[in-house]
């Protein structure tokens, strides 16, 4: 089915060069002829429908969050009643947004700093224990989230970080390290050594070369790392679920999840929709703005295998 529609026009009059494997740049001319359009139409309809399946739930939620529904704060007419419910929930949405923003930004800052320095160390220096440290960092990927969160809950209690957003950010940073360290290492390795060596010959210290010469060169890698760290921290559910038990300090996903079934077990679906919109909006905006960096992050993950 899918394979069929991939290269429909090749049977018609496609030049032999248009093989399925080749991708970019090999534009075919049969898109403009009437026969080409006729052949292409089922393909467009089919793929368009598949695309719609992916978009429809998002669009529906956005629309439903402002449309009337019995049992919500938006009973008749369109409006932002559900968002009002959301903003009045327990400590208030602004508190939860603030908590989520704090955790996310701290995670991003820590992840960027650690992987920037670590990537430089792994790419440019030889030191005893380097390979072991790198392998152990990657091994974080192999260990289940829950397996680590149980002891982390105990450990954070012992050092006074129980119920703390800083503790959550530290844990989330650790979970980001395999991907970010790996990506920053290959980013630094892709920069020719002559660049930083020239800077050092000119009298830069190694940190000066890192800061002034290499930082601009690895900026795309940093954007990818930062984007993934933000999305992971903003959306994380399990770490705050286990590590936070104070309603004042919950993050937004946890708050929206708890919001269901507050009023005597009756679920306020409207407010939940509003919560999903507030949760999803920053992610979708970032995705649309930084799509290239986003896809590149996935691809570097694939090349590793």
């Amino acid at each position: 089915m899918a394979i069929e529609s991939r290269s429909t026009p090749t049977t018609a009059d496609g030049p032999p060069s248009s093989s399925p494997g080749a991708s970019a740049g090999s534009k075919r001319s049969d898109g403009v002829t009437i026969a080409g359009i006729a052949l292409r139409t089922p393909y467009w309809v089919f793929t368009g429908a598949v695309g719609l399946i992916f978009l429809a739930p998002l669009v529906w939620t956005a629309v439903a969050s402002v449309s009337p529904l019995a049992g919500t704060n938006q009973v008749d007419g369109w409006g932002f009643g559900n968002y009002e419910t959301l903003s009045a929930y327990q400590a208030g949405i602004w508190r939860y947004l603030g908590n989520s923003a704090f955790v996310s930004l701290l995670t991003v800052a820590l992840t960027l700093t650690i992987s920037f320095l670590g990537g430089y160390a792994f790419a440019r220096f030889k030191f005893p224990g380097k390979n072991i440290l790198f392998l152990v960092t990657l091994a974080i990927l192999m260990v289940p989230y829950a397996t680590l969160l149980i002891p982390l809950y105990v450990l954070l209690n012992q050092v006074g970080l129980q119920n703390s957003l800083v503790g959550v950010a530290l844990v989330l940073t650790m979970f980001q390290l395999p991907f970010s360290t790996f990506l920053m290492r290959i980013s630094f390795e892709a920069v020719p050594r002559q660049l930083d060596e020239a800077a050092m010959v000119d009298g830069c210290s190694s940190f000066g070369a890192l800061w002034r010469v290499l930082l601009p060169a690895v900026k795309p890698g940093l954007i990818t790392v930062g984007l993934f760290a933000f999305l992971a921290a903003w959306n994380d559910f399990m770490a705050p679920l286990i590590l936070i038990n104070d309603t004042e300090r919950m993050t937004l996903p946890l708050a929206v999840s708890n919001l269901r079934g507050q009023v005597q077990g009756v679920v306020d679906y409207g407010a939940t929709e509003a919560g999903v919109v507030v949760l999803a909006l920053p992610c979708i905006v970032l995705f649309l703005l930084l799509q290239r960096h986003y896809v590149r992050g996935f691809m570097s993950g694939a090349l590793k295998g």
């Binding site: 650690i114 989230y145 397996t147 390290l177 939940t272």
Partner: protein, 305 residues
């Protein structure tokens, strides 16, 4: 570490080895220190602690009460939901992996040629993956509800609800996961497909291979590294499923959709409050995961030779 490494004669110092070795090692460690601190404090120590907890009596509120091996493991295996959760998790993993890999590959074949329309399609397949798993689960929680869903009339007339029966709940949750992750696997498959040289397809075509034959005998075998990576990723992710079931089904109906990670959470924080048994299940999960991944990698490798 070392203060030695006297400056070598400049003629001996090649361009690439301008820095003395001891200083280089010291600098390398300096840059790698933040990584090492995080990996040790938040990964290595918790990993050791969870092993210790798994052989200790460790209630949630009172903490360590001394060794009791192997009580926790006996209790874990004899837990009334242990077998059910293992069976359900495996069932879900097989279903999700088969669907996600097939759909990921199908979508990739559908949009692998670069064109405006295909770029638009790729973006729409990928947008759900920017959402958090918790947000996506909340979205579908509303979408599947018999009250607020746009499909409510359909459910009414068919006398069926999306989360009402064990099988319906499993399939509905799997649909959510496919919606959320298909774009991600599509990108990984696209990377793999781009790695297949175009002239292989030329050769297959000039030998008169049909499109299906080409797919079976050329595309699939050459895609094996990508298939290995995606299988490992998907199996690992699915075995550790938590949020989707915690939010969407809460383990119901009739405790039919409890996953292993959910069981860990229940034992640790919901009622039983026994961190020791939770740690024991975590250790079992970790061991199983390492074993399963090793087997998968071996299977893919032996097929190759």
């Amino acid at each position: 570490m070392t203060v030695t490494a006297p400056s070598r004669p400049p003629s001996a110092a090649k361009r690439g080895r301008a820095r003395p070795r001891g200083r280089q090692a010291l600098l390398g460690w300096l840059y790698a220190t933040p990584t090492a601190v995080f990996v040790v404090a938040l990964f290595a120590i918790p990993l050791l602690l969870v092993v210790k907890m798994s052989v200790s009596k460790w209630p949630l509120l009172t903490g360590d009460q001394g060794l009791n091996a192997p009580d926790n493991f006996v209790k874990a295996v004899n837990h009334r939901f242990f077998t059910d959760s293992v069976v359900f998790t495996i069932k879900y993993t097989v279903l999700a992996t088969v669907l996600l890999l097939a759909l990921g590959l199908g979508l990739a074949l559908l949009v692998q040629e670069s064109s405006r329309w295909n770029n638009l399609l790729r973006a729409s397949f990928l947008i759900p993956s920017a959402l958090g798993l918790a947000s996506a689960s909340l979205l579908f929680y509303v979408l599947y509800s018999p009250y607020a869903s746009p499909l409510a009339p359909v459910m009414d007339s068919l006398g069926f609800t999306f989360l009402g029966s064990p099988n319906a709940a499993l399939f509905s949750t799997t649909f959510l996961i496919v919606w959320r992750y298909a774009g991600f696997y599509m990108v990984l498959m696209l990377v793999g497909l781009q790695g297949i040289p175009a002239d292989v397809y030329e050769a297959a075509r000039s030998d008169g291979a049909s499109r299906w034959q080409t797919f079976r005998k050329v595309t699939l075998p050459l895609l094996r590294p990508t298939l290995a990576l995606t299988t490992v990723l998907c199996v690992t992710g699915s075995l550790l499923a938590f949020e989707q079931f915690y939010i969407l089904t809460k383990g119901g109906p009739d405790n039919s959709t409890i996953t292993v990670v959910q069981l860990i959470y229940m034992v640790a924080f919901q009622g039983q409050n026994d961190l020791g048994v939770a740690a024991a299940i975590s250790v079992i999960v970790l061991a199983a995961l390492v074993l399963i991944n090793a087997l998968q990698l071996r299977a893919f490798r032996s097929e190759e030779s």
